[in-house]
Subunit: 371 residues, 2 copies
């Protein structure tokens, strides 16, 4: 089976490679497309900004109707809060260690910020409550439930017990969230993962209500499942990668081929080995993220038969069959990375473009803020 | 076969995780050990600082007798030159594009800096020469030859023709270099890869001499092959990872188990799924670098039976067999990453420690300087 292949955004001329390019026209199209689809279902879109970590791109999402944002770490929350973003959910089971407690508390107490974090254990709830002792603020928490992905999240059927425990500790339980990450496992998995998300949140809601807690938020999401999960009782979708697109999203059918805003511009620096050319984008520019259903560490849409078979730090070894059309030494090619999120996190900034023209150099504001 | 396993450096208490820790005692031991081994053979050690990208760690290597440094990009060279490092070799076939030409020229013209770059094609030589037109400086170049790794590098037997071409263009050819990267392929590969390095440089030297070019430098190197390749006619070793150590180096037998200076400190944040705990170090803290001979995306030496089977951006899913001893929720564990180079490049800084005590926060000065 041939999976759909991405179209790369146009590259500006004269780039110093490797460099990251993000096309704002495509970004805006993507922002609008998902915002509309989610709004039509009457749900909120709370995009996960770990994908791009950019304040400016976050503002584009908010301008298109996002109800708030999702982040994965306190560091991302701090960057976004400092930029004036006023509704932030850390979709992560935050462990309020002695190092994290003051940071957590500062966010919870920040004036004008609606702030919530995830939890999936009684122990985590106790740590969160301990961090808030003596605070004037109430910490909002969302119980994470598993939806057959098997990463984090408590059993949905007993989510109410955990919610009750958290409530009794003084935390403000606002609902439940889940992540059907198995929608990434193969191109056929999206429907089932979305159904699992809906099912787990339905069960979780009943479990919360049985404990007298009415969920205000039932939050699902990933980019592959986003549109499938956007129906009751789900109230909120937390997709992230949809804004940028990448090779994986296209292969999964979650992004149209022209929905890819990202490219790593790379130069062909060597063709010494037979049936191979080498680009200057390697593991430190593309990562080694390699889903099993797409060969290589990214693709070069202009040269579809070429496979980036091996990457070392600064080399990408691109193999091709005898007779294929290939770029010449010194040519700059647009590589569409497999997975936008870890790739963008490698760069301090990116070239923002429109139709191949540079309109600015934008900062990856929360780059490296993994803690 | 059970491969040797790393010992993790001691972690300081109270860390805000995930965070990068590098033990300076171990670094100094590693610096001294390889410097001595190379000096005993009468060779020069020119460490590849792409591994750590730190000016301070580079100075430790120079204090232990390094003759100069190796880098992979002009960006790394610029950072190190600005810090006063006075002998820099870019072991890479630099393509002097219109964007790179002025940067290359500025480095070549920099007072007090001995600077050289690699090349493996006539076209690259022509671009380099073009970049230097009108300059008072001579650009030093080193011809890259392949040693059966198949990444970059011209055929050693015809290296002299390329060297002559470069010389005729006004470039100053100082010798040849190679990288036996296949020493990483499996734990048995080091000897053969080193033999290939020696052979290719022997052939290259003869080829250069046949064109009337006496090689001043015959440079080999990787950390796995470093000590095996350190004999005539090789004049210089370019190992990098040896300074830091990592899980892969230990598995390959290239580092002793206590030669690992690096750990990513991570906290156990969830144990909701059966026979699994989740740490807050994922793909954005450990990378997805996963050599086939060691399972998982890093290891936790304190819990040897636990395997970091899956990483997403901020989650590491650690599987274990029923009955294994495992850490508790909230516990901080030391993860030894598979491959130090791309991991360090994720962090703006690291905690420098000695015996588990923090002695400073040191900058990864050339982080992200991949171009």
């Amino acid at each position: 089976m041939t999976l759909p292949r991405p179209i790369a955004p146009h590259l500006p001329d004269g780039l110093d490679t490797p460099t990251l390019v993000i096309d704002l026209d495509v970004v805006e199209q993507n922002a609008q497309r998902l915002a509309r689809a989610i709004a039509e279902g009457g749900l909120n879109l709370r995009p996960h900004v770990k994908t791009h970590k950019s304040i400016a791109l976050t503002r584009i999402q908010l301008e298109h109707g996002a109800s708030g944002i999702t982040v994965g770490t306190l560091g991302e929350a701090e960057v976004m809060a400092a930029a004036g973003i006023n509704d932030i959910f850390v979709a992560y089971p935050v462990w309020a260690s002695s190092a994290k407690a003051p940071r957590l508390r500062a966010l919870a107490e920040r004036a004008g910020l609606t702030f919530a974090v995830g939890l999936d254990s009684r122990e985590a709830a106790q740590q969160l409550a301990r961090a808030m002792v003596g605070s004037h603020a109430h910490l909002r928490v969302v119980v994470e439930v598993d939806s057959n992905y098997g990463r984090t999240g408590t059993n949905a059927a007993t989510a109410g017990e955990l919610a009750k425990h958290a409530k009794d500790l003084g935390l403000e339980v606002v609902g439940a969230f889940t992540h059907g990450g198995h929608g990434y496992h193969d191109p056929e998995a999206r429907d089932a993962a979305a159904a699992d998300e809906i099912e787990s949140l339905t069960v979780a809601a009943a479990s919360l209500r049985a404990e007298g807690i009415e969920p205000q938020v039932l939050s699902a999401g990933s980019s592959p499942t986003a549109t499938f999960s956007a129906r009751p009782p789900v109230t909120e979708i937390r997709a992230g990668t949809y804004l940028i697109g990448d090779r994986q999203q296209v292969a999964l059918g979650a992004s149209p081929p022209d929905g890819v805003a990202i490219a790593v511009a790379a130069t062909v620096v060597s063709d010494a080995a037979l049936n191979q050319f080498v680009i200057d984008a390697g593991a430190k520019s593309l990562t080694k993220d390699a889903p099993p259903y797409i060969p290589g560490f990214g693709c070069i849409p202009e040269f579809q038969d070429a496979v980036i078979e091996r990457v070392s730090d600064y080399h990408g070894q691109v193999h091709y069959d005898e007779g294929s059309t290939v770029p010449t030494l010194g040519q700059v090619v647009a590589v569409v990375p497999n997975h936008a999120c870890p790739v963008i996190d490698l760069y301090d900034s990116f070239l923002a473009t429109r139709s191949g023209q540079v309109v600015g150099r934008w900062t990856v504001d929360a780059r490296g803020r993994s803690s």
